[in-house]
Symmetry: C2
Subunit: 164 residues, 2 copies
């Protein structure tokens, strides 16, 4: 069964780790939809957040193999956890001959930040889950999106609400 999964992988910071992990997915013809690799609370480790869609059994195998890699410290299948997810997008929107008041309303509603303004365009920063960013891009589509870059999803598990 095809399923979209968010997977967190904590790895040691060595050259080649990323290529090996990306290779694990591509050798099984899995397309990674988004990937974010950044620093963690420990300078010697990186945390990768991978969103991939595909057959669930194959994905289970990939997770098992991720666990076997020498540089892997921990793998979390977020779909089995209670978690929060966020993504950041920078969007360059066309502003030539456009109703800017309407555009500013949309940006305000989505709590966007205008990072740069030029004669014919502006750059907005938006954060949210996948749906929220998609809603924003659909709404500003009529103005014209000149360029967009998205970080890909990052996720953290929620803590327990009460002490056990």
């Amino acid at each position: 069964m095809e399923k979209k999964k968010t997977i967190s992988v904590m790895v040691e910071n060595h050259p080649g780790v990323l290529a090996r992990i990306a290779g694990l997915f591509s050798s099984r013809n899995f397309n990674i939809e988004s990937l974010a690799v950044g620093e963690t609370e420990d300078p010697a480790t990186s945390r990768m957040t991978i969103v991939a869609t595909g057959d669930e059994l194959v994905l289970e195998q990939i997770i098992k193999q991720l666990n076997k890699l020498i540089d892997t410290l921990k793998v979390i299948d977020m779909s089995k956890e209670d978690y929060v997810e966020r993504e950041l997008a920078l969007i360059k929107i066309n502003t030539e001959d456009k109703n800017l008041t309407h555009l500013m309303h949309i940006i305000h509603i989505f709590k966007g930040k205008v990072l740069d303004t030029a004669t014919d365009s502006l750059i907005v920063e938006i954060t949210g889950n996948d749906d929220r960013i998609n809603s924003f891009t659909q709404l500003v589509q009529t103005f014209g999106i000149k360029e967009m870059v998205r970080t890909g999803i990052v996720a953290l598990t929620r803590s327990k609400k009460q002490k056990e």
Copy 2:
């Protein structure tokens, strides 16, 4: 000379692209500090933002080879452009027996958003450039960072301020 560079690579969405690009860096012993791969304004393409530090001449060679890959549509060396950059971090901060008023002040100053609260911790979303996120994590260090995930930098070139 060692230099930190931010590189944007627009690629076609095919399985294996990511592994090939990561391989280009690791085969030259280049450690990628951060990598963000996400959707763009065109559903058939992804945009990768890579931050890597190393010898400038070797990096120039890597950029040339990136340009030769069949799935590469465009490579931009951001250090040669005027650009904005942003990153998102989710940080789980320890709140047990702590001065929460002080913590809430810090979060407010950094325009952070509290996404989840539990008995012993909370999850904050922070955006900014690398320095800004580092300043925040240093300030909340005394509370104790239980977990952190960062998206890695994404960047867009600024538009011209005046018509030519």
